[in-house]
């Protein structure tokens, strides 16, 4: 009898997703889908609100990566207030925003690797579910767990001092920033008692990369071949091709590594990117317009960024990048190498934080700039999970009348579906029994993208895990909840 296996919710990602696997009578995969079940609707909620509210309002999209939305919206509003398209701010404004952003990258990447991904890598995806979590990381490797906690805390303290709050801060405003960094705040981060300072964070980021490289040496075959499939890749890069997570021009490369989109101003993204809606998911499917929806889907995030960038403008991360490129080649399509790329970005973020903290521009008082008001503004940023697009139009009464958001995880929608399909076929095809480790392997593939599937309510005691087995007629064969 044909079967449908449902994994809901997908574990150890932010938010809620559901995986559906259809199996035919011979136990072969006939179809796989990764559904997004949460409906957010922020593109509608912001309609009618004054434009200056956007950087604060849209942060409510997410409690995990609010800084990214805050900054993307602020960049769009910079255009609307006539402050330019991302590089026209005063030095203190741009550098405070960059510091905020690198704090976010640092804490988010640390959270993902140590808390979400490492249980699978350290214990194996076929270990018991009770074992595969961050608490057991803490039990079996206390030093690693303590370090991970402090790395995340450091990033959050950077955000606190730049955005004003750890979550849903208000630092970035249209045309600039509402505070500079005091000497006291700077020194708390630069010269804090060991290990809580910028130098130690750089050291720990380096040791995290070494941790992965040591793991990779022992598990090369698994890391290289788990969910490997070709794709296009897209990100911002600096005009000279450097990795730049805050601002740049759009670049996309194809399966062969050649540039499909290059040096495109962020305000013109709609000339190159389209979105497709499919009936079985609330999340849309973006694609590169000139390639069409079938061939134009693309990856974003750390793996994509280290494919599109030519170099990294901080020395220690650049050295790691060169070693990474020697091993992985011109275009890297290996899903689990995303963890390696993510750790290189973590090091880059730590170096940038240290560099910015030493910059006296951060104590300047020249916070805001304005010019001639525009009716539309686009803000694009490289969030921890990938390229994030915010696009707003306003009317003569300064109200938002149109909003388009392409969040990072939406950009990775098709890649995550491809990952599910690849892994399901490799692990489940033809097998007479479906085991929990097989199902977790599918989740491992999804988790590599560090998807953020939106915040959900989580009142005390309200996070049931439900797995439903459904036959091809839609009849529930079995249901288990936890």
């Amino acid at each position: 009898m044909a079967k449908k296996i449902v994994i809901e919710p997908v574990t150890r990602v932010e938010g809620h997703g559901k995986v559906t696997i259809n199996i035919d009578d011979k136990n072969n995969i006939s179809q796989t889908r990764f559904h997004i079940v949460e409906f957010r609707g922020f593109e509608r909620f912001v309609i009618g609100r004054p434009y200056w509210e956007a950087p604060v309002l849209v942060q409510r999209l997410c409690g995990i990566c609010p800084v990214s939305h805050h900054l993307a919206a602020a960049k769009a509003m910079d255009v609307i207030v006539g402050a330019g398209t991302g590089d026209g701010l005063t030095p203190v404004a741009e550098k405070m925003r960059r510091l905020m952003h690198y704090g976010q990258i640092f804490q988010s990447h640390s959270l993902h690797f140590f808390h979400l991904a490492s249980p699978d890598l350290l214990f194996g995806y076929d270990a018991l579910p009770e074992k595969r979590n961050v608490i057991n990381i803490a039990i079996e490797n206390k030093d690693l767990a303590v370090q991970a906690v402090l790395m995340r805390k450091f990033g959050q303290e950077v955000i606190l001092r730049t955005a004003g709050k750890k979550i849903h801060g208000t630092g970035a405003i249209p045309g600039g920033i509402n505070k500079n960094l005091s000497i006291k705040e700077r020194d708390e981060l630069l010269k804090g008692p060991n290990p809580f300072n910028a130098d130690m964070m750089v050291n720990w980021a380096q040791s995290a990369i070494q941790f992965f490289k040591d793991y990779y040496k022992k598990n090369k075959d698994f890391i290289d071949n788990f969910s490997k499939f070709p794709s296009n890749h897209l990100s911002l890069v600096r005009k000279d091709g450097a990795l730049d997570l805050y601002h740049g021009v759009l670049r996309a490369i194809g399966l062969d590594g050649k540039k499909i989109i290059n040096d495109v101003d962020t305000q013109e993204y709609l000339e190159y990117i389209r979105e497709e809606v499919r009936p079985w998911s609330y999340m849309k499917f973006p694609y590169i317009k000139q390639l069409g929806p079938e061939k134009g889907w693309y990856r974003v995030g750390p793996l994509a960024r280290l494919n599109t960038a030519d170099f990294i403008p901080t020395p220690l991360a650049q050295k790691e990048f060169e070693e990474y490129k020697k091993i992985t080649g011109k275009v890297n399509d290996k899903c689990l190498h995303t963890h390696w790329a993510r750790l290189i970005e973590t090091l880059h973020a730590a170096e940038m934080i240290r560099e910015l903290l030493n910059d006296p521009d951060l104590q300047s008082e020249d916070l805001v700039i304005k010019g001639n008001k525009q009716k539309r503004g686009v803000g694009i940023i490289e969030a921890p999970r990938g390229t994030l697009f915010h696009d707003y139009e306003i009317n003569d009464d300064d109200q938002i009348i149109k909003c388009n958001l392409i969040v990072s995880t939406t950009n990775n929608n098709q890649p995550m579906n491809e990952a599910v399909n690849y892994i399901a076929k490799a692990m489940i095809n033809g097998k007479p029994e479906i085991s929990e480790p097989m199902l977790n392997a599918i989740e491992v593939g999804i988790r590599a993208y560090d998807p953020c599937l939106s915040c959900a309510t989580h009142a005390y005691g309200e996070m049931p895990l439900e797995v439903t087995l459904v036959d091809s007629n839609g009849k529930i064969i079995d249901k288990k909840s936890k």
Binding site: V134, I135, R152, Q156, I167, Y460, G461
Partner: protein
Amino acid sequence: MIKNLNKNKILFYGYGNPGRQDDGLGVFFIDELIKYIKKNRLKNIYFDTNYQLNIEDALEISKYDSVIFIDAAKKIKKSFNFKKIKPLEINFYTTHNMLPENILFLCIKLYDKKPDAYLLTIKGYKWGVNEKPTEKALKNLKNALIYIKKLIKILYK
């Protein structure tokens, strides 16, 4: 037993999503409690809020003698519930829902500290995308606040 506040520090930690109606009751509670503490200039009482509990909260609570977590709840019978919690070594599948018991376990495991830990849950009713909690939930919050204020007075004796 919650330690006397004349010599010991207590952390009130409210968490939840204030953008989803009653889910933000923990955060709203802290907002109200801060007003009371500042008005009465009470010492040794500290506050924190967040969307959810995270692993680094184990470090945060290790700095205090006592901690009271505050969250919304769906399935309690009364308007609020207050109980002492014990460390729990975890058997959950997602860090999106770490329990205060798990945080306490981590605090002991990683930092060898064991603050007296309690959980205050306030009954909520609606969880949609809206920043205003329900009136019924706010009444429950008020009842919980009265209880905690009485408790604080006792802790200063």
